[in-house]
Amino acid sequence: MSNANTVDQIVSKPYKYGFTTDIETEKIDKGINEDIVRLISLKKKEPEFLLNFRLRAYSQWLKMKEPDWAELKYPKIDYQDIIYYAAPKQNQKKASLEEVDPKLLETFDKLGIPLSEQKRIANVAVDAVFDSVSIATTYKEKLAESGVIFCSISEAVSLYPELIKRYLGSVVPITDNFFAALNSAVFSDGSFVFIPKGVKCPMDLSSYFRINSGDTGQFERTLIIAEERASVSYLEGCTAPMFDTNTLHAAVVELIALDDATIKYSTVQNWYSGNEKGVGGIYNFVTKRGECRGKRSKISWSQVETGSAITWKYPSCILKGNGSVGEFYSIALTNNFQKADTGTKMIHVGSNSRSKIVSKGISAGNSNNSYRGLVQIGPQAENARNYSQCDSMLIGDKASANTYPYIKSNQPNSNIEHEASTCRISEDQLFYLQSRGIDFEEAVSMLVSGFCSDVFNELPLEFASEADKLLALKLEGSVG
């Protein structure tokens, strides 16, 4: 194809969200030690049990070694060169949005986050996290009417310490892995959702994460609990400005579903991915795990991963309850020098548990896109079923696509099916579309979005169209 020019043009399209907001922030000194952990806890006026939790995690972290099995080959992270806490300067959490620094609101406006009141029609409650601190949560009152708690995790610590004490770290223990331990020691903020018995959350909940300073790590923590027969759909979006240094993002997300509860967790991740030479970008090392504790509970992960220099995460489900269901729908797109090593773990413990995995990887440029997943059927998981499908699409001959599905079974009365394929956009398909008067770029984006349609169908409506556009934007012209 003679579209080499278009490739260059489009690949060099600027990152739309790459601005920084000039706002006074309060940062603490670089580095990590016990005093820093204590300082973070003090700044957030935390109760003692949480300080102890952090200190235990910190001492655990010191004992752990940074994992290297994924062979992502990134330069060593200097953990003493990171600022672990940065907050926009404001004296108190504001009672209403009018009092929030207009510059901040402007930032979120630029990002298209429906924070301000007039956007209420969007019917999505938002919790926005700027660097380390939650800025504002909308719709609180309306949610409170039905008993739903949706607030920043710091707020939850002071208002509902019992819930935090009971559930924090119960799905991802502090000993789980290197980055989870680090997060547990220094986590700054995040969202907390609690849906009481029998309540169907009246609107979609959403949180928005933004890293603003170049030397700040973001360590947010999300905890979602759905009690018996409750259900909730939660959306998460992420962006960051452009810096030529790499920034670490090590979040932990814990989901807990009791009997007959349903949690749907969707992510559109568009952290800054570095420039076309692979300089800068976010290291997105995240631990996400859901536990289907109750009978017939269901946890569904869907993710669209387009940003970050390196994405390294495996949103997982532990299917403890009998008849519980885990789902994982993923689109991972990598371009230039991005690396993605993502997938899921489905651990079947309870009988009649079911899981489904649909993963679509698209790699372009010099990028490296891996699916790595585990399906494990334990000896008690009678009649467990799993179906996995992972497809890769390669664009250009310098990108690589790898699949590493680990499949483990201890149970004869179970069924596991796994299939995978690799393809590229064929010239025949492009020719066909072009002969129908569709221009080259549109044809490519149509084919890509067709390739991903299985996953788009699982995304909440407004996310699906956003994700589709995002893919088109990221990819246009990279076929040549």
Partner: protein, 416 residues
Amino acid sequence: MTNDLIVQKWLNSIPEAKGILKNIQESGKQCVPKIGFPTHKEEDWKLTNLKRLSNILELNINTNKETNHQIDINNLPNPGKDYFRILLKDNGNPQDKIKFPKGIEPLTDSEIEKSIGQTLEECQCHKTWPIAINNSSINQILAFKVNENNLPGIEIIIPANSKDFNSKRILIHLEDNAELNLLEVILGSESSAQSHIIEIVMGKNSKLNHGLISLGGNKKSNLLSHIATQQKENSEYSFTFIQEGWNLSRLEPRVVQTSGNAKTNLKGLQICNNNDQIATHSFVKFNGPNGELDQLQKAIANDQSHSIFNGVIEVPQIAQQTKAAQLSRNLILSKRAQIDTKPQLEIIADDVRCSHGATISQLQEEEIFYLRSRGINNESANALLLKGFCQEILKNLPCNSTYWTANFNDLIKGSE
């Protein structure tokens, strides 16, 4: 005793090799401690029963006392006129005693020295622990080249002595346009271990139909085996392998298409009973365009057995137009059995068609029901389905193999 100590003791107890093997042994002995005993931290060894692996090193090495073979090796069935049999049982150089048929010549010492280890290096496994162990202990090497086609098949039988560590090496060079049928039979014996490595070089337009039947005999016998093959353009390699009855079996078929444009067929079957641990680690790499791979790996896991499959396929940038398909099908028949399967595709070339699939399940109830509704009892229905499951692999073996697989029906038990 720590594993390092066991290894050191083992190295000291190796009887010294003679002739051309001396240098190989020396370099192997230096390599073993450098690589170190495998640990569960290494991805390749994560699932291996390392206790059983270290137990192998407690055995005597190549004592060659001819006792207690699993079968009466002096009374084997006649291979027929289409097959030429080689029995690898004695120490010393087997080539001196064998009168190869026309078209097959033994490799000379200098040819062996030049080519030994070369295919292993091509297949990226020359620095692994089982290779180093074999290098440091081999006392016998069978090496020949094939110049013609239309030759009698070669049957190589490798028995083990009981309580013995038996290590052998085979080198086969197929010249351009040569064709060969090859059947290897590896037998276990009471508390024995076999370290078996075969290196195959295939010239242009050559064709090899290779069968390997490894029968441990359920007597605490162990097998570590590498089958390394490099294929030139337009060659066709079909490799069918059976693993059955081993306490610990680790078979690693590794194929590299040195400039693509070749065909590879891999068909593997594991039958795991008792508390066997049977593993297959395959590796296929395309170093050129237009390569083809058809791989089917099957396993039946019964009792407390553990079946492991790890299948790597590498398609680098140069390997455009590669067609590779891999399928792993597993039957788990007991609640205490375990199956681990991991297909692994690494693809950089964009114009390729690669797929892989994996299934783990028990026998399908509808199929059993169908047979039972035709008046076949449950037990026979199970046995019939299992036989059919195996037959898909067994039918690819070279034709004189039926003697060895005849009793498979008894080995495959129905589900509990």
